[in-house]
Symmetry: none
Subunit: 225 residues, 2 copies
DNA sequence: CTCATAAAGTCATCAGATGACTTTATGAGT
DNA sequence: ACTCATAAAGTCATCTGATGACTTTATGAG
């Protein structure tokens, strides 16, 4: 390890600056030295410093304000763990997805509008029941419904994470499991929409759990067998 | 929306190039035009192109080989959404965290062992009540308890995401809010452990919601004021 | 003391040049 | 013809210097 940087001053600059951020050399909100100073400190040109700073800004560590300076936005390493979350077991991923599905259904039940309910009913109708045909297409239609529920919750953080998981789950299914997906429970799905329409978070909650339970049970059977 | 880029050619360049990558303009492994050409295409200087390319390389989309060229490494978008989740509002982040807290408490109630319960009680005792002292330290002790619940659930995916959010939330609080954190509800916390001990998922669920409700309410007040 | 204005500080971007590395073309020797 | 060392061309890596735009601070008149 190490010493793998023959021609890459910018990457070294990135590491040096990130280490200082993680090492709390500058507090959150504090201003970094200006580009000229960093350039001198690291013994690289201003252009190289700019490339490093822009990468760190794109990763959420820094924030640059023209005319003012460059500031620390976060001193944590968050964001990196997520690639690990994707490597968790499929069951764990489904369980995490369930947590989001439940909470989003609750929120949507509270924040619902007639338009939202109508949209969900339309998506559910389009989804239909699995007729034995193109499985990938059906999964996509099913996912469109669930994403719509999440989107209707209005919670951006949950939307992003759900996207992350659904993509990851779809990949895993395609790569490892193939056909053995449990039946989709149309009635449970319809119940969820009904609960949202009547504004009952607990019923929406229960509906989500009901439709997800057989999926998790099926996964458990696969793990045991 | 859009047209929010007064002084940020590099970000526009990043988007333009990423869109072309996502739009499969160049296949995986294919070589991009050289820096001078990209510079001309986008009507920006080479330095700006380099900043954009380096960001995309740091995100896994591109790979540069000195003397050879710049190549497409991946055309998928997985992993990117999470950086966006961090930019969601603090309330959204808390709500997402709640989803995980609830589900983890449920799972832990089902999968509990005497050792787990004892560990949680110990952490809760260490946490204590907020005595007006070092706030950051208290938040850390509080977080240690919640993380232990998540860890006890045994769900790796949720552990990783929780880490992601708690770090992000801690940063945001430190940077923007300062002192106005709502009271911690010790009784609700103790109730959670009790519910876990008796193996009652619904009670654990309710306990989590009870302790989190005032936090979300406080955030709503801040948004309104 | 207030506030408009000037000055200084800093990031954003550009242009040109040199070095280092990779790929391709060349051509002598076999 | 074929091989292969070498030259040439192409490309990224980095540096230097300069100008514009924006923000913050200092200034001074009222």
């Amino acid at each position: 390890m190490r010493a793998l940087s023959k021609t890459n001053l910018a990457d070294e600059a990135i590491e040096a600056i990130r280490d200082d951020i993680l090492g709390k050399r500058w507090a959150v909100g504090e201003k970094l030295p200006n580009e000229a100073s960093l350039s001198a400190m690291l013994s690289v040109s201003r252009g190289t410093v700019r490339e490093a700073v822009r990468v760190l800004a794109s990763q959420g560590y820094l924030e640059t304000r023209q005319g003012s300076g460059t500031y620390v936005r976060a001193t944590s390493d968050a964001g990196r763990p997520l690639t690990m979350a994707r490597r968790a077991s499929l069951r764990d991923q489904f369980e995490a997805r369930l947590a989001l599905d439940v909470e989003a259904a609750r929120l949507t039940a509270i924040r619902k509008t007639p338009e939202i309910v109508a949209g969900l009913r339309r998506l559910l109708a389009e989804r239909g029941n699995y007729d034995g045909g193109n499985q990938a297409a059906f999964i996509e239609r099913d996912l469109a419904f669930h994403k719509a529920v999440i989107a209707a919750s209005g919670n951006r953080a949950m939307i992003e994470i759900y996207d992350f998981f659904s993509a990851s789950i779809a990949d895993t299914i395609a790569a490892t499991l193939g056909k053995d997906i449990p039946e989709p429970d149309m009635q449970a799905h319809a119940d969820i929409v009904d609960a949202i329409e009547t504004g009952d978070p607990d019923k929406a909650d229960a509906g989500v759990r009901r439709f997800m339970a057989p999926v998790l049970a099926a996964l458990d059977r696969m793990i045991l067998s």
